[in-house]
């Protein structure tokens, strides 16, 4: 483990009776890194997160935070983690202020620190006007802000977010994403799970793809797109009422061609080819057939395609 490693899972497994939720997973997250954890429902994302924050204690393997075993040093480590749970509720008789103050005190903040910190967090989340409202009277979006707020109160070094962006309206999602990016810039290590791949791609420095309790791959969004053997695609759009080019799939470097619309086709190239050569050959073929080209574009696989390649087949 390097000095810069913040979170480390070593051969961690967890079963719920017969069901193997995590199967010998190992992963490292560096200090200050934003790690996006993606996978289908039931893949084991929440189990991984609950192990990290200490809610699940009976697992095999070892988990370290800043080199300290999370079981042995649980109390010390709990104060440096902020956790945004996917579905945790609040005691609804509390006001937002009361909830923040209780959680702040339990996280070790003194009375002097608490007032300042509550104000800062309320301001960050645009919740100042709702400060003395009872939780039962808050909207769903505001409760999600409250969940994020309680995770930030004690200025954690590590932020663990379980599906923080799901169920938010576009404006709120934008706001949450900005907060997460801002926190990342301040040097906090962030582990977050999500179903929304575009958001993961947008925020994460590194992505882990989890399926059926196993980590399928880890890398930066770009690495995953490049590393995974999905050939690049070329999108060809021809002018209206112009026939599409034929016989492209006869070229050896082309895997197959999809005619998406009457004037649009997607050419799937084989991986590890000489891209310049094949583009030249395609253009030559288009010219020979006198196709009127409106658009010719090299399209890299999206993260969604990479993700589906890993988990799609196995979940069908």
């Amino acid at each position: 483990m390097s000095n810069n490693t913040c979170i480390e899972f070593q051969k961690v497994s967890k079963s719920y009776k017969e069901l193997l939720a995590l199967d010998n997973i190992s992963l490292n997250i560096q200090k200050g890194e934003v790690f996006g954890y993606i996978g289908p429902n039931g893949a084991g994302k929440t189990t991984t997160i609950k192990i990290l924050v200490g809610l699940i204690r009976d697992f095999s393997g070892e988990v370290f935070i800043n080199g300290n075993d999370i079981i042995i040093n649980k109390k010390e480590l709990q104060n440096i983690i902020g956790y945004y749970p996917q579905e945790a509720g609040f005691q609804e008789w509390r006001t937002l202020d009361h909830a923040f103050k209780t959680f702040g005190r339990l996280s070790g903040l003194s009375s002097d620190q608490l007032e300042n910190r509550v104000q800062e967090v309320l301001k960050l989340l645009n919740l100042s006007e709702e400060r003395f409202k009872k939780i039962i009277h808050l909207s769903g979006g505001m409760v999600q802000k409250l969940r994020l707020g309680q995770a930030l109160l004690h200025k954690p070094q590590i932020l663990v977010l379980d599906e923080p962006l799901s169920g938010l309206d576009p404006q709120m999602r934008y706001h949450f994403k900005n907060i997460i990016k801002e926190l990342a810039r301040s040097g906090i290590t962030i582990l977050f799970s999500s179903h929304i791949l575009s958001d993961v791609q947008d925020i994460a420095d590194k992505i882990g793809i989890l399926n059926q309790g196993q980590i399928k791959d880890i890398g930066s969004p770009e690495d995953l797109q490049n590393k995974f053997h999905i050939g690049n695609n070329i999108e060809v759009v021809v002018a209206e009422n112009t026939p599409l080019c034929e016989g492209l799939d006869d070229l050896s470097e082309i895997e197959y061609v999809n005619n998406i619309k009457s004037n649009k086709q997607l050419i799937h190239l084989n991986s590890e080819i000489n891209i310049d050569l094949v583009i030249y050959q395609i253009i030559e073929m288009l010219r020979e057939q006198k196709c009127k080209i409106r658009n010719f574009n090299l399209v890299k696989p999206s993260l969604e395609e990479v993700y589906l390649k890993y988990v799609g087949g196995e979940n069908k």
Partner: protein
């Protein structure tokens, strides 16, 4: 530290709840109304005795229902996760709830009793013998309420459905607490108050111990 904080928090929550308003004001009022509208049926029983009886019996039932259903509902809504990710002992969560509700009940009984005693003093019904009986029933009531509250928590920890917890509480909760006076029916000469106190403390400690063990083993 966390137990004190959680206890004060829970106390604040329960004190503001409608159930406690019923206990603190509704039940004494009900007792007064019974005494006012149908005094003959009570055969001269002082109001202090009546309210202590009403509050401790109905209060016990209400508290067992409230505790069990609250815990089940909070478990199902994952409320405890946000506490347990912090340096908080699981036992503190359970103990804080128990102590808060129990204290609320004791306050309810005390309020009722004080009001009743004042009322009886004014009406001239404050007879020494009744005071003794009232005090005796108070000791039994407080002991049985401790057991009732711990049983409420046990149902809350064990059950995962709110209606089931409520049904169990109504049919079993308060009835089980009456076990503390059962031996006096079979063994003559037992000091009822001492027996109630001893069994109350012993059974409550055992049941709370079981509650803590079960809650510690729970998967969140």
């Amino acid at each position: 530290m966390s137990l004190r904080l959680l206890f004060l928090d829970e106390l604040k929550g329960y004190a503001k709840s409608k159930v406690m308003l019923v206990l603190w004001f509704g039940l004494p009022l009900l007792s007064f109304l019974i005494q006012f509208f149908n005094p003959a049926e009570l055969e001269g029983m002082p109001i202090s005795f009546l309210v202590a009886l009403v509050v401790s019996s109905i209060g016990g039932t209400l508290s067992v229902i409230m505790l069990s259903t609250t815990i089940v509902s909070e478990k199902n809504r994952h409320v405890y996760e946000l506490f347990l990710i912090r340096p908080v002992r699981r036992s503190s969560l359970i103990l804080a709830k128990f102590l808060a509700v129990y204290l609320c009940l004791v306050i309810a009984v005390s309020i009722s009793l004080i009001i009743g005693l004042i009322f009886d003093a004014f009406t001239g019904d404050l007879i020494e013998n009744y005071l003794k009986i009232t005090f005796e029933s108070l000791i039994i009531g407080i002991s049985s309420m401790a057991i009732t509250c711990s049983i409420g928590i046990l149902f809350g920890v064990l059950v995962s459905s709110v209606p089931v917890a409520a049904i169990l509480s109504v049919y079993l909760g308060s009835q089980l607490s009456s076990l503390i006076i059962l031996p006096t029916f079979f063994i003559h000469g037992l000091d009822t108050q001492m027996l109630a106190l001893t069994l109350g403390i012993t059974l409550t400690t055992i049941i709370m111990g079981i509650n803590i063990i079960l809650f510690n083993r729970m998967q969140f």
